[in-house]
Symmetry: C2
Subunit: 348 residues, 2 copies
Amino acid sequence: MITYNLALIGFGGVNRALAELIRDEPGRFSSLGFELRVVAITDLAFGSLVQREGIDLAAVLAMPRGHSFNDLPGGSADPRNEEVIKNSPADIVVEATFTSPIDGEPAVSHVKWALEAGKHVVTTNKGPVALQGLELGKLASSNGVVFEYEGAVMSGTPVIRLAHKVFAGLELTAVQGILNGTSNYVLGRMEAGLGLDQAIAEAQALGYAEADPTADIGGSDVRLKVAILANELLGTEIHPDDVETTGIQDITGDDVNEAMANGFRWKLIGEARREADGRVIAVVQPVALPAAHPLAGISGATNAVSFTTDLLGTVTVSGPGAGRVETAYALVSDIIAVHEFAKGAVRA
Amino acid sequence: MITYNLALIGFGGVNRALAELIRDEPGRFSSLGFELRVVAITDLAFGSLVQREGIDLAAVLAMPRGHSFNDLPGGSADPRNEEVIKNSPADIVVEATFTSPIDGEPAVSHVKWALEAGKHVVTTNKGPVALQGLELGKLASSNGVVFEYEGAVMSGTPVIRLAHKVFAGLELTAVQGILNGTSNYVLGRMEAGLGLDQAIAEAQALGYAEADPTADIGGSDVRLKVAILANELLGTEIHPDDVETTGIQDITGDDVNEAMANGFRWKLIGEARREADGRVIAVVQPVALPAAHPLAGISGATNAVSFTTDLLGTVTVSGPGAGRVETAYALVSDIIAVHEFAKGAVRA
């Protein structure tokens, strides 16, 4: 049995859900050959905590938000991210801070510090992957560690790992997806008769949409994810700025009704495809899909990706695209990938 | 580069599609570290052919049906399955004969002969898997080889391999699927106004349904697949006879219309689920699904499976459930699994 020491960078919903899983089911991964121990946590609200023998997760999870780690052994009121990432006894750094769509910071720096220190990185943060994924992957490789980020697209629903692990031997020519649950929920509610603004307000009330829903409605959230899928699955090297992006803000009730009357449904589609000349085109835009299209039936806040392949035609996976436990599972699946890498490295 | 020698048992649509792929793209799998050579073919119509240095696939694929292998070196008008399976220089036996839902023969014997001779087996034939999958798996294991059968459910669309490879660390509590394209096509056409018999006739004209559509319409095809999924993914040991089965033969146009008027769609659902007491229940029956159900939007001859998991909720994969090239890809994915096993065995 191997024990992996984790440093949790950011102690919001997702990393808390991971900590709860470890607290509640410490033996959950023993059949896979490993167990998890949290040795460091940093967070803007709590500060930082490093305990080499393992942090008492029940105790820190019970701490009210705003309480500082300052009064605990190994604790500080200051997040000290750089010091903790570089010097804590973690094998795996779990990056789950917030996404900056502009420069990916501070997450890009967190990931770099960890990889340069020879620590594996798993993250649900799409910023560093979309903006510097290729460089960070190379940095991981040159340091003999792995950089895994299944949760950057569709939370724990397998997309990147599915393509790599079960589509071996296929040529993938396109990926097309519903990659933002808020906008899909909003379009569904417009089909039920709500106006765009009403539907957005409802999504906010339900907790799907942010206070500022611009990234969801305007397509920039999907743009980051399309860039990740294009680079990861179609082997190109594009920047999110290269993805022509149109959101759903100009879709009207009349548009929705007219489509429905003809058996079509408006969806916000992110797509990357390889053209005949080898170039990869990536675009985000609202598309009216015919009912038989595999993405037409994806309802509510569910996400989905259709993969176009040479031998198998179109295969679609759908599932949750958000949720704290669902996203924490993405981290679990990344940690399992670290474990497989580590086993292979030992055996080789 | 490793070369795997294949024996193709049955030279109908699926194994011909595999042979065409090897003929047309001999280097397709070199990036994965192997290449494929067909050293034996047996078929009721052609007889048998064994050529240790590799069969000229272009030549045999050009032979008209009814022509015998008799006049070729190493050829015979007689299929000689047992002799070829036991004695040919194949590393991997590719079983793609017809499915007997009663005793799985002759495929069960083919698989046993191969495994006992220390040859890996890949198959698209659901009979032996549904009826004797556990025994055959043990036989493979005790002979140091693998028995792979992704194509037994949903042709090449990953289901078994998806669950094993990308759901690691999740607890799977249920699988629920649309596992027969003919019946799903028929139900869709009934929604468009056709009667059951008309819709079946149309499916036959399009080549979806067999001359005798009983297995598709009556649910016994799905029953075999549900037994496979229950045993493989929920760790039980059931026989297809244990799966309570109702087909769509009694669904009327009125049933379909009434459901549609209320936003529901009739689907033939195969399901296996673990009850609170640990027992696994498996059933095949028509179910009227609400529009938001992940299987409600699966149209035409497409197949789909929804997996219910503890951390990730419901994840659904949809894709082709038939087709000669699509099913041949299932064999390719199985051969890749053989290769991974062989690499691991060499390294260990």
